[in-house]
């Protein structure tokens, strides 16, 4: 019963920006497009029979469709919820995860935004505790939401900080 297991902790999950799905789909399409072009060029250059192209291109098309759908579902499954003392993060399509990070345990908060992220106006926020296993990050936050969340987490972290 994944619905129960990954239910929001009271208030509903804050979902991340669909811009992330758009970004990832563009990247996916670009990669597969390059592959398709390379396939065609190779076939011509090596003088391979043309009928070989069809299954290769179909395979790429199928990959594109599957990837497109998976990205949509994956992005839709990301979510976070701010509680009084903890941040809940859920993610994952195949391996579903739920991380609960107490604000008092945070060591620092990172915001990352690469050139593509900035083009889509999104950023990724990452929480670090003293444990490397925590792996609490949320990609695809609108830039101002990422900044707000960082400030809030920093404040709460300082207020509730606990010794190691």
């Amino acid at each position: 019963m994944p619905e129960d297991l990954f239910a929001p902790p009271g208030n509903p999950w804050q979902r991340i920006s669909p811009a992330l799905a758009r970004l990832r789909r563009v990247v996916l399409s670009a990669c597969l497009g390059v592959l398709a072009v390379a396939t065609v060029v190779l076939t011509v250059v090596l003088g391979l029979p043309g009928w070989l192209l069809a299954p290769a291109l179909v395979a790429l098309l199928v990959a594109e469709l599957l990837g497109w759908r998976a990205i949509g579902r994956q992005v839709a499954l990301w979510g976070y919820a701010e509680r009084d003392e903890d941040l809940y993060i859920t993610r994952g399509l195949m391996w579903r995860r739920l991380v609960v990070v107490p604000y008092g345990r945070m060591q620092y908060v990172d915001i990352q935004a690469g050139p593509l992220d900035r083009a889509y106006g999104i950023a990724r926020i990452e929480l670090h505790t003293a444990s490397p296993g925590t792996s609490a990050h949320v990609p695809g936050l609108p830039a101002e939401e990422a900044a707000r969340l960082r400030d809030r987490l920093t404040d709460l972290g300082a207020a509730q900080a606990a010794g190691l």
Partner: protein
């Protein structure tokens, strides 16, 4: 913490004993260069006996003389001051270095005696500061002096932390006394000092100092047991089986077959020998600052485990030890990182290499409750009720599931797993960093999930493996609540 100072100025508040600082033992160059001396003697003794010195001997002697001069100048240039709130160590022959170690940041001070230094009655002091790096060392001091300096530094650290010591001034620079005053200070967005800031600070002010029983030994490892445990180790089994296989191959098939196997066997023997010499005379005793571990045959080392840094423990019971009821105890300490025994060197995380299980459990309880009477009741890992994974997990872990069990107690979270080596991971709720729930695709079909309790790097990782998924979420929420309460209480 450290810095380069081209012109070291005198310390603001010195110990008052020496304005010029203290020197290391004058025997230091000999202890450091002794190996070189031995090497020269060993390679040229034939020439020396015959009364002639060949070109090799001259070259080596030149190196020796150069080394001696360098060592002596280096000794001359090395001084240290124990200041009010910092330890300053000036070194350097060509480039001067002045290292300052904040005394309130000292986590522990280990005393190490390599063989040659030990024969000369010398010892090295290794400062262990928050952040995990061994940032400073004083080599060598006479053993008595090393103990004295260690005591002075630790006493001064406690005084600074209590804010009543000679090192306390009312207007400290921002952050300088954060540990002492804020106590629970984990600095957000401050990777460098924030990494392990607040380590060891949830002892209440004065909590350490008020507890002062005389030092006494809690457990001592007898040589017979150490040898027995090594005989019953997988390495020994591999050695014996490999030896038999090699002998058979050598006798009946071809003598050349032995050649590639031999180095491996010698390697195993050497590794075991290093373990023996490292664990020889292993003694755990109680001190004011925590548990003290002393060990070593040739190189004696003394290491103090600050109870406040204990994150969790692992009790390991290899299959061959179980009939004898023996176990091994490792500890996760903030800032020590993961200890591993893979290279044959004994890990710094080992609190007891082998002991009867009751002794190990008593040590584990001592480490877990940190001598806090309020926690003492719930600190026995064996008292935590464990639940085995449901039957459906047989599709994932058909064999391993028989040895898996996990549960949450009032104070502790416990997870046990493994047949060949049964490991019981224990962590205090107050030390859990974050709670993670993970469900893979197969687990989803079977209605199972894993709950990870994240700890700082180290041997301890409590994993509640393959719990029924409804229960898993409940466990995660329960752990969240328990660790919140425990954090508040401490």
């Amino acid at each position: 913490v450290t810095g380069q100072h081209p012109e070291p100025e005198p310390p603001s508040a010195g110990s008052g004993r020496h304005e010029e600082g203290q020197r290391l033992s004058p025997l230091t160059p000999v202890a450091r260069g002794g190996i070189l001396l031995l090497a020269v003697a060993a390679t040229t003794w034939q020439d020396l006996l015959a009364g002639r010195i060949g070109p090799v001997g001259i070259a080596l002697l030149a190196v020796l003389v150069g080394g001696a001069v360098f060592g002596w100048v280096s000794w001359l240039r090395t001084r240290f001051w124990i200041g009010a709130d910092e330890l300053r160590i000036d070194t350097g022959v060509l480039y001067h270095q002045s290292r300052r170690i904040r005394i309130d940041r000292l986590q522990g001070i280990d005393i190490v005696q390599p063989l040659l230094a030990r024969l000369m009655g010398l010892a090295e002091l290794k400062m262990d500061t928050a952040g995990g790096d061994r940032e400073g060392s004083l080599a060598y001091l006479s053993l008595a002096e090393a103990h004295r300096v260690r005591e002075v530094l630790l006493a001064r650290r406690d005084a600074v932390r209590r804010g009543t010591g000679p090192g306390f001034h009312p207007g400290p620079p921002p952050g300088a006394h954060r540990d002492a005053e804020v106590g629970e200070g984990v600095e957000v967005e401050d990777a460098e000092v924030g990494e392990f800031a607040g380590v060891g600070d949830d002892l209440r002010p004065g909590g350490v100092a008020s507890w002062e029983p005389p030092d006494h030994d809690l457990a001592r490892l007898h040589l017979g047991m150490l040898l027995g445990s090594m005989l019953l180790a997988p390495e020994t089994v591999a050695l014996v089986l490999g030896g038999v296989a090699l002998a058979v191959a050598g006798l009946f098939v071809d003598g050349l077959l032995v050649a590639p196997g031999l180095p491996v066997m010698i390697g195993i023997v050497l590794v075991q020998g290093r373990k023996l010499s490292a664990y020889y005379g292993f003694t755990v005793s109680q001190t004011r600052a925590g548990l003290q571990v002393r060990r070593g045959l040739f190189e004696r080392s003394t290491q103090t485990i600050a109870l406040a840094r204990v994150q969790g423990v692992v009790v390991s019971e290899p299959v061959m030890w179980r009939p004898l009821g023996w176990a091994r105890l490792d500890v996760s300490l903030a800032g020590y990182g993961s200890g591993s025994e893979s290279d044959g060197s004994p890990s710094a995380t080992t609190v007891m290499p082998v002991a009867p299980r009751p002794v190990v459990m008593a040590l584990a309880a001592d480490l877990l409750h940190g001598r806090d009477p309020a926690l003492e009741a719930g600190a026995d890992p064996d008292a935590v009720p464990l639940v085995a994974p449901p039957r459906s997990s047989r599709w994932l872990d058909p064999f391993a599931r028989r040895f898996q069990a996990s549960g949450l107690g009032d104070q502790l979270a416990v997870a046990r797993a493994g047949w060949f080596t049964r490991r019981t991971h224990v962590v205090r709720h107050a030390r859990v960093q974050s709670v993670r729930l993970v469900q893979g695709p197969v687990q989803r079909r079977l209605g199972l999930a894993d709950v990870h309790l994240d700890s700082p790097p180290g041997p301890v990782h409590v994993l509640l493996r393959n719990r029924a998924s409804v229960e898993a979420r409940r466990l995660a929420e329960q752990e969240r609540t328990l660790s919140r309460q425990a954090r508040r209480a401490s």
